[in-house]
Symmetry: C2
Subunit: 355 residues, 2 copies
């Protein structure tokens, strides 16, 4: 039974019988370090050392304190510990979403790595709107994390300024910029767009279209796509921008809209693999051969896509590597090691059947 209250008698410095004039702040709130200390016959600071620097405690003392901890079921209060030491042992991860997306891989690996290093992860979902990004950041910073993972680089300048000033390690991810706030692990969406354009051009595409979400990174891909096509003299590009989250159904609906814009449409660059699958489905229903009559390129390389839709080309990005690399950046910095500021993990165009 680990729930016996430490009796007043066990406390050597117990004063008179009555409790002193101490205003109660709520009832008893669970075990404190002093409870463990009293039972183990040591000072609170020694119990603290058992948790935070056991190598500085004598073996017998260590053992005795640990037994008491075990018996009582004591769990240190890290709110108090963090406040006192200015080490929250918390890392924040701010991502748009973790549902149906490669971000979930990044967060997964990031979290595992941080966890192994003794940190815990505060998850903050920003959605795709950055209207309330300031509010979200305030909420995150109020926890005093020791580091922050951000998704993307498109923040307002006031935000970037604030983040630079908080003086904690920050990794931006999933994008590329010459002027990161601090560190960056990502790739160029603009380059991806250009690479897909080139892929289409190699296939002698004449009337390419695009369907994607209208977030910053998707738009950067679009711009790269358009620019490369413009170099080849193709300037008329059918385009459907949709609000996130994208889905198979949205992709399906998009194809007819694109064809209305460009009746001779012969290629579609999709903002995600789900959209690509939708476009593929609609193409089949219309009797269009893929990729010979209609080339389709997705983005993200969900594993299933590789397997079930060999007609699709897609752009593979290694979300796992981003998460791992971002975690290492932060951990190195926290360990006082200086780190390369920008890491480009690149991307890979996965071509399938050529039809």
């Amino acid at each position: 039974m680990p729930n016996d209250e430490p009796s007043a008698a066990a406390s050597p410095e117990a004063p008179e019988a009555a409790t002193p004039a101490r205003r109660m702040r709520g009832g008893p709130k669970g075990l404190r370090i002093t409870d463990v200390a009293a039972l183990a016959g040591v000072a609170p600071i020694t119990v603290s050392r058992v948790f935070n620097s056991p190598e500085t405690v004598a073996p017998e003392t260590l053992e005795r304190v640990r037994q008491v901890v075990q018996k009582l079921g004591y769990v240190p209060n890290r709110l108090a510990g963090g406040l006192s030491s200015s080490r929250s042992r918390l890392i924040a991860a701010i991502v748009p979403t973790i549902a149906h997306s490669l971000f979930s891989e990044t967060v997964q690996v990031f979290s595992e790595t941080m966890s192994r290093a003794g940190y815990q992860v505060l998850l903050a979902l920003s959605g795709y709107s950055d209207s309330n990004e300031e509010t979200l950041l305030d909420a995150v910073l109020s926890r005093r994390p020791e580091g922050v993972l951000l998704t993307g680089v498109a923040h307002t300048e006031s935000l970037r300024e604030r983040l630079r000033n908080v003086g904690m390690p920050i990794v931006e991810t999933w994008d590329m910029t010459a002027t990161p706030i601090d560190m960056l692990v990502g790739f160029s969406h603009h380059q991806i767009g250009a690479a897909v354009a080139e892929h289409f051009l190699r296939r002698n595409v004449r009337a390419p279209g695009l369907v994607s979400a209208n977030d910053d990174r998707a738009l950067a891909r679009r711009d790269g796509f358009r620019e490369r096509l413009a170099q080849a003299g193709i300037r008329e590009i059918a385009e459907v921008l949709v609000a996130p989250p994208s889905s198979v159904a949205v992709g399906k609906a998009a194809l007819s809209t694109l064809i209305e814009q460009a009746p001779d449409l012969d290629a579609v660059f999709c903002g995600s693999d789900l959209l690509a699958i939708g476009v593929l489905g609609a193409a089949k229903r219309m009797g269009l051969a893929v990729p010979s009559q209609l080339a389709i390129c997705g983005f993200g390389d969900l594993e299933f896509a590789t397997e079930t839709t060999p007609q699709l080309t897609t752009v593979r990005v290694d979300g796992t590597r981003i998460g791992l690399s971002a975690a290492r950046c932060l951990l190195d910095r926290l360990a006082g090691i200086d780190k390369a500021r920008v890491t480009d993990v690149g991307f890979h165009l996965v071509e399938r059947e050529t039809g």
Copy 2:
């Protein structure tokens, strides 16, 4: 420029010239509530009220304090606030993984809902092993969350006992039990297994097999599957258990192993849709017609599966609803509203082409 230090002169109670005999604990650590209070000409408690109960502050005072907060860029320290008030405003979510899984939907919606209610989510990934579940729980409890979402119900009795004793709202999810720790939102894996067995029996399957991960919930599905088949006189069931994470490749490899065990294999129940896609791919390669020669049932209903693999049957579970419902359970409890202890969200067998 929000980085001017509040001058000592602005502080009315500034004592002598020299700082008193106060041991420094680290350098200056950023803005404190007293900095805002001094500049706004109010007591710290008033600044506190501006954040925590603005309706109790006079409009002009409110405005003045907010201006100072804005100007200084002050962000309250919630480690301190949480310690002082015993309200951490933190909720923990403990899930096996968020990569490639329906859990990510649950966490997504759970997190969004909690966020809207003013809580932040601490993400703890347990993996599929529960060897270190105690350690993980200690780490979580050390943050003094106000509620916990757990995945599954298969915890050691000592763990269940500890959780019951911490006295905070707890929701178990993604499983079903008659004796939850506190609240539960889930469904019966055993029933799912039985339902899939019945589906196969309706198709006059004779030699069903199973490939799945060997975690608790997958094994519960297996047991339901076997029991229902046993009732129909089918007791020989080819079985491949694999370590998580499951993947398309693992599914592919599994089919030949199953066929070695049962050469006349005519149905496979897969522990996930990725496995099912792998089995489907392998079946095609072997020239087996799906589902006429080999019926395949997955689990999870990833959106793509519905679209790209109409030959597959799958079991749909609403991870989104679980997340939302779990969040509401916790929020209601935190608001003092008593809540139904167990919610069965059920599942849905999605049959496709009968081929």
